[in-house]
Subunit: 350 residues, 2 copies
C-alpha cells in the first residue's frame, strides 16, 4: 500500500509506509465501537489517542511481548511522502461536517474563546490562524484582546467570564503571556472542561497516568500522533526519541507515545551524545526549537522523523510572523532520502 | 572518598562512589538557602528534589551543555555499597528531631491518617510499618479500617472526615483497593493538601511540568532519589533507564530523574530489546515487579542500579507478608561486582 505520495515540496513529509494493511487497521480495531462503526466514513475519523492501555505482561527470558500479536506485518517498505497539509484538510473537513450536523440536530455550534494579551506579532498570527480555522469549520469564535500592560485581574476576569459563558466550550489563553503576568495562576482558574489546550496540570497528570484519561490533549502532540497513525506508522514497541521537554510539546508527546506503547527516551539540552541516542531511534519527534539541530548524522535509515521545532521569524514583505528555522536540517535529510532508504521527515509547515 | 561501605548483606546497595567531593556538594550548592544553611547539620537534610530546573540551552555542534560546569569531578571510582537502611535511619532521625522541635515551638505534631480497606495481608503489613514509623518519629497516626465489602460511600466518608480534621495533615489510602471500589473516584475526593502519596493527577501533572511544583512526591521514587543524591551519584546528563511504568513508581521516578536532568528512557513490557537498552544505561531503576527480570547481561560495568521491584510473599513462619522476589538477579549482580567493576545495586529490602 503506497501511501499519500502526492506533490513533493517543503510542506511535506517523506518516509516509509508499511507494505501492509495491518498497521492502521490494527489501531482501528483496538478502538471504541464509535470508531469502528465509522470506518466506512469517507473522511477518516481521529483515532482514539489515549485508550490503548495494555496490561504490562512481561515475557519470560527477555523476549518481546507483542501487543499486536496475530497481526502479520510485512517488512517490505516503500519510501513515501506524507502530506501533512492534506491530512489537516481531511480533519478540518470532518470537523466542519460534524459541526454542520450538530447545528442541524440541536441548533448549536461549538464556541471557542481566545484570550490574547499584548502585541506579539507571532502570537497575533497564531491567533488569526485559529480564528480563521474556526470560521472555516463553522465554529463560533470570540476573542478578548488585552493590552500588554494589563493587570493580572483583567486576564483572570476575561477567563472567568468565558468560564461562565455557556456558548463558549473551549478557552485558549495564547502563550507566552507578558512577563509580569503569572501564567500558572491564570491557567489555574480556567475551567477544566474548557481547557482545550490541555495545559492544566490535572489534564497533564491524567495524560501521564495509566488508567486515567485527560479531558483534552495538547494540540501539537495530538497532531503528531494523527500524522503517524493516519500514515500507518507502527508505534507500539518502537524506540522513540523526543527531542525537547517543553510543557507544550516535548512532555505531552512523550506521554502520548508511551501510551501508545513506544519505548520513549527524552533528549534535552543536558543530554550527553544526543546524536548517538537519536540515531538509534525508529521514531524521532523533534521539538527543541533549535534551527538545524538535527543533521543527517542524527538519523538512521528507515526511521520516522516528525519535525515540530520552530523559530518564528517575521516575513519582511508581509509583516506576518511565520514559523520557520526548523530543528531538522531538511536538505540533509533529503539527501539521505536520495541515497537509499529515507526516514520519514515531517516539516509541518514550510 | 569511600562512601557508606558498611555491613554487606541483602539489604544493601553496591556500587560506585565518585572519588570526589563534587558530586553531592554540586547538588547541594544548587539548592535553596535552607538546604545550604543546614549543611552543617549532623543529620543530612533531604535535598530539594524538584527545584533543579535549568534553562534548556542547547550547545552548538552537538556538544553537551554541562549544567554543573565549574565542578571538577574526578573519574577515579571506587566500588562501594550503599546501606539503604542507614540512610533511612538518618532521615527518620532527622524527621523525629524536627517533630520534637515543632512540638516544643507550637505544641503540635504532624498527623497521618491511613485508610485500610479489606484484609490483604501485604497491605496490613505495609500499614503496620507506616504506623510504627510514625510512632518512632513522634508523628500522630490514626487509622480507619473498613471491611472488604464496604460501600464506596463508606470509604469516601472516611476520606472526607480526615479532609476536615485539622489534626490530620496527610492521608494515605492503602492501595490496591478491593476491585468493586473506584480507586480514581476515591482518590479524587482526597484533599490535595493532604495527598501525601502524591497520587492525585494534579500532583502528578505538576511533577511532570517544568516550572511547576507538586505538593507531594510519591514516596518510593523520592526514596530512590534520596539514595542517589545522598550517595553522591551524579544524575544530570546521565543516561537513565526506568523499567516499568506504574503510576506509583515507574512514572514518577522517570519524571523525577528528568527534573534532575537525566536522559530518561522508559522500558516496559512492550519494549523490544529491553536488555540492550538497559545495558546502555548509567543509571537503572527497576520497578517492574517481575522476579529476576534483570540479569547481569542487562547491566554494564560502572552503572548504578536501584531495584525497587517486589513481589510480596508470605513468610510461613510468621504469617507476615514481606516484599521479596526482586527484579534484579542479586547473585548475578554480585558476581558482576566481584569480576571487576560493580554496578550499584540497591535492594531496598531483603
Amino acid at each position: 500500500m503506497r501511501m499519500m505520495v502526492r506533490s513533493v515540496n517543503r510542506k511535506m513529509a517523506i518516509g516509509w509506509a508499511k507494505e501492509s494493511k495491518g498497521c492502521l487497521s490494527s489501531t482501528m480495531t483496538r478502538a471504541s465501537n464509535t470508531w469502528k462503526d465509522n470506518q466506512s466514513s469517507q473522511i477518516l475519523l481521529s483515532p482514539p489517542l489515549v485508550t490503548l492501555d495494555l496490561p504490562d505482561i512481561w515475557a519470560a527470558k527477555s523476549t518481546h511481548y507483542d501487543p499486536l500479536s496475530g497481526q502479520k506485518i510485512s517488512n517490505v517498505q516503500i519510501a513515501t511522502v506524507i502530506n501533512g497539509k492534506l491530512i489537516a484538510e481531511e480533519i478540518r473537513s470532518r470537523v466542519a461536517s460534524e459541526v454542520k450536523r450538530m447545528k442541524e440536530c440541536i441548533g448549536k455550534v461549538p464556541g471557542l474563546a481566545v484570550i490574547l494579551v499584548g502585541e506579539r506579532r507571532d502570537s497575533q498570527t497564531y491567533v488569526r490562524n485559529k480564528i480563521k480555522a474556526c470560521e472555516e469549520a463553522g465554529i463560533k469564535s470570540v476573542m478578548a484582546e488585552l493590552p500588554n500592560y494589563c493587570a493580572e485581574d483583567d486576564v483572570m476576569t476575561a477567563v472567568l467570564k468565558f468560564n461562565e459563558d455557556p456558548s463558549v466550550h473551549g478557552i485558549l489563553v495564547q502563550l507566552p503571556l507578558p512577563e509580569h503576568l503569572d501564567e500558572e495562576k491564570i491557567l489555574n482558574v480556567l475551567s477544566l472542561e474548557k481547557d482545550v489546550d490541555g495545559f492544566h496540570p490535572i489534564n497533564m497528570g491524567n495524560l501521564a497516568m495509566r488508567g486515567r484519561e485527560p479531558l483534552f490533549i495538547p494540540c501539537t502532540p495530538k497532531g503528531c500522533l494523527e500524522l503517524l497513525i493516519r500514515s500507518g506508522v507502527e508505534i507500539a514497541g518502537k524506540k522513540a526519541v523526543v527531542i525537547g521537554r517543553s510543557n507544550i510539546v516535548g512532555l505531552p508527546i512523550s506521554l502520548l507515545l508511551q501510551r501508545h506503547h513506544a519505548t520513549v527516551s527524552i533528549v534535552h539540552a543536558c543530554t550527553k551524545n544526543p546524536e548517538q541516542i537519536t540515531r538509534e531511534a525508529d521514531l524521532v519527534v523533534s521539538a527543541a526549537g533549535v534551527p538545524s539541530l538535527i543533521r543527517s548524522s542524527w538519523l538512521k535509515q528507515g526511521s520516522v522523523v516528525i519535525d515540530v521545532g520552530t523559530c518564528p521569524i517575521e516575513d519582511p514583505s508581509s509583516g506576518v510572523w511565520i514559523p520557520s528555522c526548523r530543528d531538522v536540517c531538511y536538505e540533509e535529510a533529503l539527501r539521505l532520502l536520495l541515497q537509499l532508504l529515507p526516514p520519514y521527515l515531517e516539516a509541518l509547515d514550510p
